[in-house]
């Protein structure tokens, strides 16, 4: 009999059905069961494995190929260092890289937060006062079209070698995608919802609070996914243009000395933090925009 091995799962299913209210809508029951049937821990681990295993295998293959190519063909270190050498460099100078990474990360996060808030506030402003929309968007595009590589040295001339120019560059990079996406999101309210709010004679503030702002959240996170890793790139570029500390400074020093293991080690630190920030954004998104995750 198949009953033995099916015992635990179908029983919880039946329990759900038993506790379901007596509603005539039959469709309600499976969804109710679906809601209560939380994914098991084993299921979650399997999901994690499915995500991580292929990536790890691919990375392993690439690193192994790289290592073998460098060793077998005797590629000089100043052209391409082997991954093992980069790892050794990283390990030997771990405190240096950690402190440099911490500085770059704090600059990136500072700029990210400022760009985020300014972007959100401007997006809300032009949604409420739509006659400002065209002018402000044109200015934002102008800012976006300006090459940051050119602005960075200028900011360093003005504000020195400290953190401020890095924060400004990162904020500018963050600002535009956030503004455009949040502005789209605030205007992406469903037609049917607008009709409903109109029928209740909702004020603009009520429409904003109950419909526009939540509608904009998925758009905000879409922007954040792009902007969070980019903020580190912005900070590094700004540091490259002139800094006394930070990963960009480490890279620049390593580059001018043709110390490629150190350069790669710094790049690795920056890339890892980028992936880390992205992961954090995804995790926060799942909590905040929970209704979207379930729709998919």
């Amino acid at each position: 009999m198949p009953h033995d091995d099916m015992e635990d799962k179908p029983l919880t299913h039946l329990a759900d059905k038993g506790s379901a209210p007596t509603v005539t809508d039959r469709k309600a029951h499976p969804t109710l069961a679906g809601k209560n049937a939380h994914p098991t821990l084993a299921g979650r681990n399997a999901e994690l494995a499915r995500d991580i295993v292929p990536t790890s295998i691919l990375m392993g293959i690439v690193l192994l190929g790289w290592e073998l190519a460098v060793r077998l063909r005797h590629v000089p270190t100043y052209i391409l260092p082997a991954p093992s050498l980069i790892a050794a460099t990283l390990w030997r100078h771990a405190p240096t890289y950690l402190s440099a990474a911490a500085i770059t990360l704090s600059e990136a996060l500072g700029g990210l937060l400022i760009g985020l808030w300014v972007g959100i506030i401007v997006a809300i402003t032009i949604t409420f006062w739509s006659n400002l929309e065209r002018g402000i968007l044109a200015l934002a595009i102008l800012l976006k079209a300006t090459p940051m590589v050119a602005i960075a040295p200028l900011l360093i001339i003005w504000f020195g070698f400290g953190a401020l120019p890095k924060i400004i560059i990162t904020a500018i990079i963050t600002f535009f995608p956030v503004l455009i996406n949040v502005h789209s999101g605030l205007n992406a309210v469903d037609e049917a919802l607008l009709a409903l709010f109109h029928s209740l004679n909702a004020s603009r503030w009520e429409l904003f609070r109950y419909a526009r702002w939540p509608s904009a959240l998925p758009y905000l996170f879409a922007a954040l996914k792009v902007v969070a890793p980019l903020s580190l790139v912005g900070a590094v570029v700004a540091e490259w243009a002139g800094a006394s500390v930070g990963l960009g400074r480490t890279m620049w020093l390593a580059y001018t000395n043709l110390n490629l293991p150190a350069l790669f080690a710094a790049v690795f630190c920056s890339a890892t933090m980028g992936v880390g920030l992205y992961t954090v954004v995804i995790a926060v998104e799942k909590q905040v925009v929970f209704w979207k995750a379930k729709e998919e």
């Binding site: 005539t24 309600a28 009709a195 029928s199 004679n201 209704w291």
Partner: protein, 262 residues
């Protein structure tokens, strides 16, 4: 709330030539009446509802709700609007969705049952903390209906509310609407494609013909509810309504209905 339409016309100015969507519609609806509006696609029946809901303005003519223009009724939250799209807020629980009319435009609160009571009446009590996307289409429409009721509005405008649902769910929900209408006695304007549904629900069925949208005929149904669709007198009404919709130029069936009823 009584609804009074006086020679109401609506022209849409799209690209190219203007489109006359509704032409000289005159209709008097008494307070507490259940009106079904049927007609072919694009005949302007939804436009008529949008006009009464103050979502668009008529090109000509007057609309009076209890003697005042629709805007006044809307501002007092006297209109409950419901359409095919349940339009629930996906980021709010069922209870918060049903409570929405109480949070919005707060200075007008009507004598309405509390959201908690409504959820109980509609069999949604156990779902109060759930989010809309976890519910089936039928349950979502039920939540939308509860939300419409929580306005306490004396006028319900329903634009094919259950058109997207399967037949059984639709039947169950229309029965519930009839029950609620009996309890609260609002004026109902119900747009539908379903002839049988109209025959089961309405005090009067308004038939609108297309191009331009005009009231072709108004068919009163004076049969006690609940109505059984298979009862011979309902079958006869369904047959006649269908004939009217199929051959609007032929006036014969209408005369027969009127004779048959009175």
């Amino acid at each position: 709330m009584n609804v009074d339409l006086r020679r109401v016309s609506k022209t849409f100015n799209g690209q190219g030539k203007p489109l006359l969507a509704l032409d000289q519609v005159t209709l008097d609806i008494a307070s507490g009446e259940f009106i079904c509006i049927i007609g072919p696609s694009g005949c302007g029946k939804s436009t008529l509802l949008h006009l009464i809901a103050d979502q668009i303005a008529p090109t000509q003519g007057n609309i009076l709700l209890d003697g005042a223009p629709p805007a006044a009724a809307r501002k007092r939250k006297a209109i409950a609007w419901m359409a095919q799209n349940p339009a629930l807020l996906p980021w709010q629980t069922v209870l918060d969705n049903v409570s929405l009319p109480l949070h919005i435009n707060r200075q007008y609160q009507r004598n309405a049952p509390s959201p908690v009571t409504l959820l109980e009446v509609m069999g949604l009590a156990d779902f109060h903390a759930m989010y809309p996307h976890t519910l089936s289409g039928g349950m979502q429409q039920r939540v939308a209906l509860a939300r419409a009721l929580s306005t306490g509005a004396p006028l319900w405008l329903m634009d094919e509310p259950f058109a997207a649902l399967d037949e059984l769910t639709r039947e169950t929900l229309t029965e519930e609407v009839l029950q609620l209408w009996d309890d609260f006695r609002p004026t109902v304007l119900w747009v539908t494609h379903q002839i049988a549904e109209a025959a089961r629900l309405a005090d009067r069925v308004v038939i609108i013909t297309a191009h331009p949208g005009r009231i072709h005929s108004i068919v009163p149904i004076k049969i006690a509810r609940p109505r059984d669709e298979t009862a011979p007198e309902i079958v006869a009404i369904i047959r006649d309504l269908r004939a009217l919709l199929r051959h609007p130029q032929n006036q014969q069936p209408r005369a027969r209905i009127v004779r048959g009823l009175f």
